[in-house]
């Protein structure tokens, strides 16, 4: 039954070519998606800008880390108009520091269709059910961006659920808007792809020692987007041969929180996160990838359907669809 539906689906899309390329890279502009920013540096201190020390703390009660992982399963070429669709799956979940384990895992398979093409039922390939939805535009980047966006929405929803139950959430990546639906969530940004600070401020960032943070600053990114609090934190000091960015992360907090509360969160993050970092043998993104984050990502990836099985089945379905056409 599922199989014949899948064949119908493929016929309807006129999907006649597939390829899989793990090397497809995320377009750089969707990583940190915001245009030029306006930064206020005097929200925490008005005087001299210098590193702030934090005190080591091991507080784990009601702390969760939320993250998501994704995988592209296949690209489909539809008909002869050069349009394509994207099959992918993502998993989002939460690692509870209180329990020392992953307490929530959700996996979702999606087929991102170009605008103008839709389907009311999912595409079943083996045990994976790909839920169809329309992408923003029909370019590869557009489809991919929609795919990522959907995952981020799921991450945000999960973070908000925990936040609403009284958890403090550390979410991987920049904070997602709207903040009113974020609650007490800290964005944890591992890769420094964009400098929000310059000159003497940036010097302070680079001079941070382990457990030290910059004062909190406010980032405004546009009229229609709410501002957010942010600060840099050093998780581990670089050795003489390592990049000054080594062990450096940036955190974000929603601007609808009280600044004093954000300060306490910043002190907590500085006193806690440097002590739960991963090692280079544990994670290729050490030390910025926290150990629980690495653990969560592994557990999430384990939920993906077997890729070779998906591909083989899809190839077979397409062949069957064309067999019937022939």
């Amino acid at each position: 039954m599922n199989e014949s539906l899948a064949i119908d689906f493929i016929k309807k899309l006129r999907a006649h070519q597939i390829w899989w390329d793990d090397s497809v890279r995320e377009p750089i502009n969707i990583k940190e998606d915001i245009p030029p920013a306006d930064v206020e540096t005097n929200v925490e201190i008005s005087g001299e800008w210098k590193a702030i020390e934090t005190e080591k703390i091991d507080h784990r009660k009601k702390i969760v880390i939320v993250d998501g992982v994704r995988r592209i399963d296949a690209h489909l070429i539809l008909g002869d108009a050069g349009k394509s669709a994207l099959l992918g799956e993502f998993a989002v979940g939460a690692f509870s520091l209180e329990d020392g384990k992953v307490i929530e895992r959700i996996v979702e398979c999606v087929i991102v269709l170009p605008p103008g093409i839709s389907s009311s039922h999912p595409l079943s390939i083996g045990k994976a059910e790909y839920i169809p939805f329309s992408g923003g535009d029909s370019t590869e980047e557009g489809l991919y961006s929609s795919f990522i966006q959907r995952m981020r929405e799921r991450e945000r929803t999960l973070a908000f659920e925990f936040s609403r139950s009284g958890y403090t959430v550390i979410a991987d990546g920049p904070l997602q808007v709207p903040f009113s639906e974020v609650g007490v969530t800290l964005g944890f940004i591992k890769s420094i792809q964009r400098y929000y600070l310059y000159g003497k401020y940036w010097d302070t960032v680079l001079s941070l020692r382990r457990g030290e943070r910059t004062p909190i600053f406010l980032i405004r990114t546009g009229e229609d987007l709410p501002p957010k609090y942010s600060w840099y934190l050093r998780l581990k000091e670089p050795k003489y041969f390592e990049s000054p960015f080594f062990g450096l992360v940036r955190l974000e907090a929603p601007s609808n929180l009280d600044i004093e509360y954000v300060k306490s969160l910043a002190q907590f993050a500085g006193g806690f996160l440097p002590y739960i970092i991963s090692s280079s043998t544990l994670s290729s993104r050490a030390p910025e990838n926290l150990a629980p984050l690495e653990s969560l990502e592994r557990r999430l990836r384990a939920m993906f359907h077997p890729a070779d099985h998906i591909r083989a089945t899809l190839r077979q379905l397409i062949a069957q669809a064309y067999e019937e056409v022939k």
Binding site: R60, F95, L97, D99, G100, K101, V102, I276, S278, S279, T281, L282, L290, A291, P292, E294, S295, L296, R298, R299, A302
Partner: protein, 564 residues
């Protein structure tokens, strides 16, 4: 009770598989489990198996570092608890045993009493079985009588370290189990019913077996419950006769008393006259295996000496001791052993003198002063169900002689009657001494003869030794039932213990007193059983507070002397 599922990440085969144990359950080695799957060709198929290894690990971790992170609550891992199962039986609805693997994901449950019977084929034994201990789930384990009574096989061999392995206790327990079920056995095996069954036990260590007929006052409730669970009464043996060598005499007219310490009452003396030695052809056993291996010519000398002795006896000569025989022989040695090289002759005489020193006390004069005939001190194994022959105080040479002489007489007696009935069990420890891996001797031949022909003669050997690797393989391999108690892991590596299987081999060194691995034909896996403390006293202290209270040994001795 469901305990887990058949694992899908490790291969299932018709002979072994793995199960993952549910988080709230525990499964231990030796537990018996059951799982059922549907198969198109065979319908419902039930798999029975024994846990032979239990394992736990953090799944999904690759390095010790990750495990450390896990212990710090920073890394998630799946704590998995899984067990390796050895399949003992596969049973389809039609009673066939298809050779198929259980299906991964199938629910696994702990075996109940009925399952246990099926798992270990006790159902197939029907009534032809006797309990041999309790399994880990406190249900009885049984031995197939067909493999004890000589019908399909016979003999039991027990290995284990002295003192820890409780070999003798287990041998006596098995006898007790047998005799307790004798009425049922007689109904099942009519041929057994026509006669009694007897046992001859050689007591080689302490006076452990001198109280087989006396309740053990120190028996715990736990042990009583174990007897009960096997359907046995916790009672001593009913029909026992004790034999001990004579106490060394100080004077010629001293009474012949048993050489025992903790018990004198009811203990008979065993001894031989020189006439018996001659007529029963026992001269061979005066020589230790080492004596015989040193000089191959000795055989000839012994043969000639035996012929001479019998001639002299026929002529009416009476030898009151070995010494008197040696003296007479020495006087006419040139005539008697003219054919034997003088070196061999000397070696023969030297060893004979040596034998005299050690075996002399076992020889009683044929007549007492004033020509009064000596009463018989021979062992009459038919007069009691269980006969204990205490040889623990004897020198090794005297032990060889006693064991050799007793076994020889039993074999010859059975040969003469031409029927295996009545059955006689022989319990003999230290088989490595009597039937060693290398070397040849009359006693080794007798033991081997029993091992190979005993079944047809109705002689069942319950042999024991510390190390089966040092016993003639033919003796061990002829035992249908093999038992192993505590022993060194290195000993267990010998091929003679192949029946243990690889997992159990590693466990033998951890067995505690009362625990035994039992192997019997028809069962693919050796099972661990626990047997209770003897319900009979094994030393004087345990016999106190019971019916039997020898208040004062001196009085006992006086009584015995009075009888004389």
């Amino acid at each position: 009770m469901n305990v887990g599922i058949v694992l899908g990440t490790r291969e299932s085969t018709p002979f072994e598989f793995y199960i993952e144990v549910d988080g709230n359950q525990t499964l231990q080695v030796d537990d018996i489990i059951v799982t059922t799957c549907e198969y198109p060709r065979f319908g419902r198929v039930t798999f029975y198996g024994i846990v032979d290894q239990a394992m736990s690990r953090l799944e999904g971790l690759e390095t010790n570092e990750q495990a450390r992170f896990h212990s710090q609550g920073l890394f998630d891992a799946n704590l998995t608890y899984y067990c390796h199962i050895v399949v003992t039986r596969t049973l389809a609805e039609d009673g066939s045993s298809p050779k198929i693997p259980p299906r991964p994901g199938s629910e696994v449950r702990l075996a109940d009493e009925r399952d246990t019977e099926l798992a270990l084929y006790f159902d197939k034994m029907e009534k032809r079985k006797v309990p041999c201990g309790l399994l880990s789930n406190n249900t009885p384990a049984y031995l197939d009588l067909d493999f004890i009574l000589g019908i399909k096989g016979g003999h039991i061999n027990i290995s284990g370290k002295s003192g820890v392995a409780t070999k003798t206790s287990y041998a006596t327990f098995l006898l007790y189990s047998y005799f307790s079920n004798l009425q049922e056995i007689k109904r099942t095996y009519p041929e057994v019913g026509l006669t009694n069954t007897h046992a001859v036990i050689f007591n080689v260590k302490g006076e452990d077996l001198l109280f087989l007929d006396t309740p053990n006052s120190k028996l715990s409730d736990k042990d009583r419950k174990m007897y009960e669970a096997m359907g046995l009464k916790a009672k001593p043996f009913e029909s026992v006769k004790f034999y001990a060598p004579p106490r060394p005499k100080r004077g010629q007219y001293d009474a012949i008393l048993p050489n025992t310490e903790s018990r004198l009452k009811g203990v008979n003396v065993f001894a031989w006259t020189m006439r018996e030695i001659g007529e029963e052809d026992l001269l061979w056993y005066l020589f230790s295996p080492k004596d015989l291996s040193d000089t191959s010519q000795l055989y000839l000398a012994i043969r000639i000496a035996t012929n001479w002795l019998n001639r002299e006896l026929k002529d009416g000569l009476k030898f009151q001791s070995i010494k008197s025989m040696i003296q007479t022989l020495e006087e006419s040695i040139e005539d008697v052993m003219g054919r034997v090289a003088s070196g061999t002759r000397d070696a023969f005489m030297r060893r004979l003198y040596r034998a005299e020193q050690e075996i002399g006390p076992l020889i009683v004069p044929e007549t007492l002063p004033f020509d009064v005939e000596t009463e018989s001190y021979s062992i009459d194994w038919r007069s009691a169900q269980v006969n204990v022959i205490d040889i623990h105080k004897l020198s090794p040479r005297a032990q060889y002689f006693t064991v050799g002489a007793v076994l020889k007489s039993i074999v010859e007696e059975k040969e003469k009657t031409g029927t295996p009935w009545p059955l006689v069990f022989i319990v003999l420890d230290e088989l490595n001494k009597y039937a060693p891996l290398t070397g040849d001797s009359p006693i080794a031949e007798t033991v081997l003869d029993i091992a190979e022909r005993g079944r047809s003669l109705g002689i069942i050997l319950i042999g024991a030794q510390q190390t089966a690797s040092e016993v003639t393989h033919r003796v061990v391999s002829n035992a249908s039932i093999r038992v192993c108690g505590n022993m060194d892991a290195s000993e267990a590596e010998h091929s003679v213990y192949d029946y243990l299987g690889s997992a159990n081999r590693k466990r033998v060194q951890y067995l505690t007193p009362g625990q035994m691995f039992v192997y019997q034909p028809g069962l693919p896996q050796t099972v661990l059983v626990q047997f209770p403390m003897p319900a009979w006293a094994t030393r004087y202290q345990e016999s106190r507070e019971s019916d039997y209270i020898p208040e004062d040994f001196t009085i006992d001795i006086m009584e015995e002397m009075g009888k004389e």
